[in-house]
Symmetry: C2
Subunit: 156 residues, 2 copies
DNA sequence: TTGAGTGCAAACTCTTTGCAGGCCC
DNA sequence: GGGCCTGCAAAGAGTTTGCACTCAA
């Protein structure tokens, strides 16, 4: 479960000789247990509620470090700030163009799609592919309802 | 060729009652003819070389407007600033994690992949899908060589 | 003509940086 | 104990905004 995830992630860091400071553990645990795609600001606010001694610079440093070790990915969507997501298992995101909500999509088809993207890319560009980021845009069910789009495709 | 693209894009704007100012035409034409994924700063610098009277605010306003009309897409990659790309035909991007270069991938498989993503997403989340952004990450051929990674051009 | 578009620069927001002290390994 | 990490605040980078002037329709 989440705890195993945390152990797994901590091991990956340890294997890379990264110091496991209390702040890093707390931030990593926060990202593993909250799949809400938080920004640095949200992480900081939440951790401070539970009176953790954490500074903004540390959160920035830590998420960047976690991104470097492929434990977390960055999502730069329209709203100006950067969102983070623990990437324990392959998935992709759908973003609502109306309200900005980000939803995870976990589906068995994704690994095949991902593999095909890697193959196609390798063949046509020569890149050594490490990862495929997919971001689908659309209108979430709530907004479809609000906008009266239930059965019709809105052309724009 | 590119000229037809421009006419097509201008028509789309005109049909939406968007004023076709000289600045907008110039910026649009620049994006159609330069598939270099420029930032606002690069667009501004290049246009000013050819002594176009353009200000930074206008470039920001215009690219945002073009994004709204789906003529251009935003690419927010690691380097802090936002890159823009004229999106005349479906394609996706590969980003080199070492040097930051962005390469277009044009392949017939993409439309099938894109359609599958839309279907899968619709089924599992209920979103009304409008677009799929794919961004593959990896190491470009040049950097593979520089970094001494497996490579079939002669060693050394 | 007329109001949307443009240009300039200041303001704003998000992110990074420098340095002193703390703490993991 | 050594060197990396943290915390604070200020600097930096990219983007947005307000207002007067200009020009496309």
């Amino acid at each position: 479960m989440a705890d195993t995830e945390l152990q797994h992630a901590l091991k990956r860091l340890k294997d890379n000789h990264v110091r496991l400071t209390p702040q890093r553990k707390i931030i990593l645990n926060y990202l593993i247990t909250h799949h809400t795609h938080p920004t640095v600001e949200m992480i900081l606010a939440d951790l401070r509620k539970h009176d953790a001694g954490i500074s903004m610079a540390t959160v920035y440093n830590t998420v960047k470090l976690l991104v470097d070790y492929n434990l977390v990915i960055e999502l730069k969507n329209g709203d100006g700030s950067t969102h983070y997501d623990y990437f324990g298992h392959p998935h992709y995101h759908v973003v609502c163009d109306n309200c900005g909500k980000i939803t995870d999509v976990n589906t068995p088809e994704f690994s095949a799609i991902s593999k095909e993207l890697a193959d196609v890319t390798r063949r046509s560009t020569g890149y050594l592919v490490t990862r495929s980021d997919v971001e689908v845009h659309g209108i979430c069910p709530d907004c479809q309802y609000k906008l009266g789009l239930n059965n019709n495709k809105g052309a724009e």
